[in-house]
Amino acid sequence: MNGEIDFITTPKSILNENYCVAMGVNSETIFLFWKFSNYIISSFENLLLDKKIIIKVFDCDKNTVAEMEVDYSLAKIYIKIPPINFPSHIRIYLKDKDGNLKEIAVSNEVILSYEREIRKEYNYLK
């Protein structure tokens, strides 16, 4: 991770860890990015793991409010959820050869605000 960098999201991590980070964009969108350790990445590449990962969004009572399956190398996703006014978090699961799910990363808590009237941009001059 030294020398030339392209500043394009890659699944490789300088931390060499499995993690995901959730960021609230607006009242109904969470931005999630994730990275996996080199060991997990080689497991994907050697087909020991399904390259599709499962992403689940939970509310504060641990109910699933959204679920999706994406390629691990995507490394980021915008998740639209109904406007909620409570904390939620996201968990990522891997699928082994037999289709069993294993939790690999849990995000931070993210709070979205209630949906408000969209207003025009005031500081367009900036």
Partner: protein, 521 residues
Amino acid sequence: MKIYSIILLHAHLPYINHPEENYIEENWFFESVVESYVPFLMMIERLLNDGIEPRFSISISPTLCYMMENENLQNKLKRYIELRLKLIESEMSKEKNEKIIDNLKMYLDLYNYVYDFLETYSFDLITPFKFYKNQGILEIITTPATYPILPLFTNKKIIDSHIKIASLDYKERFLHPLKGIFLSECAYDKSVLESLKKNSIEYFFVDDTAIDKTKYDPYFLYKTPNDINIFVRDSISSESVIGESSYPANPIYRDFYKDIGYEREIDYLKEFTLFTQRIPTGIKYWKITDLSGIKEKEIYDFNLALNQVEVDASNFIEKIIERFKGYEKNSLVVSCFNMEIFGHRWFEGIYFLEKLFRKIRSERHPIQFLTPSEYISMNNFTIKTIEPEISSWSDNGYFDKWLNERNDFIYPYIYEITQKYLRIVNKYVNTNVSFPMDLALRQLAREILLMHSSDWSVMINYDTHKEYAISRLKKHYLNSIKIFEQISSGNIDLSFIKKLENENNIFNSLNWRVFSSVSSF
């Protein structure tokens, strides 16, 4: 009935300092100094000379404060003004049109006055700001350290560090404890509250979208559950100054975009701008004329524009009084603006502010301008507790501008480098580090803090100076990686660290231990 009014002018620029080269982006600072900051201070001087004591609250970001104090930038600023004066003289020697010559005389006066003003303070702008602060005319506050969008940071330690570093820096510079903070772009979520309290912040500002207006009147002061005062930004008064049908859009006012930097031969200009690219020079002869851009631009008339300022200032006051006609209680209007709008974007904006104060005095309007601390200290009202919503003062009131498909690629880099730093700090916090190691850990903090600035994501989002923004992020990232390598090998290259210190020299007495999440002993 009396209407209380707070005008908060928010001054911020990203930290841009290149001691060994000239960058176009450094001009943002010079343009703001010449057109906004100095004319603003000169306006205060004029009012005081006439016995009128204005009141402003000003948030100056730490990055801007460091630019104001930076000797390299002060020298470049001096050269910038000198070259502009030469450009004006050159234009005058060739110009035949009397109306354009009038414009040139106006610019000659402006640049000469600004030069003389700066020379009085040895080109250090913090000094006059401090002077008016100590007189009680200005209430100066700060922003989070390098102007990050705090709700986009998931680690509370980072939020806390930005507030703590800014607060300590403020105290060191202004010699008083910090009372208030302007959260970068008014970006708020409740994760900041604990840090604000820990750092003894007495008040902050939220956008009016942060409160449910069906339940709460936005024209009052509120407090958070942990007892911090909340000033609510009035979006209606802001719209008068910022927006397509606002005062600055009047066809009589000076056009911001049509600049001789885009009209004259590049070979002629480069002697004055020092760049071979086309850049604005600040010398503009045209009025807006027609917003649609169809009509040919007419020559700007400063005196006519000043007459319009008079009309607009009266209208602004009348509109506020009209809005609060039925109010029995004393209400509070909090108008927050980017300071660079006044003078730089809206050339006549400084005169507009001046007219407000003059008119309220001479026409005895029931409006009382005051600072946030003065309002809080009146203490003759009960302050309701509210829990503001996630909000910012931009776009749709959220964070889309700083986080979207055009700029999201920066966040994993920022996250990883920051996490790595937090771990290194925890490793060394309770050890007696060597002098070189201390310097390395301190410079590493500066490089990472500079990556946190929200300016880069905005520049990438709007595709304005995008390459510069990406190059800065890459540079700070690679500098950090190099320092990490030196720390883990134990071989600190002091000449490398010193070189970085010279360029990215913010937060002189930064204590890297503030990033630690393990207890010190």
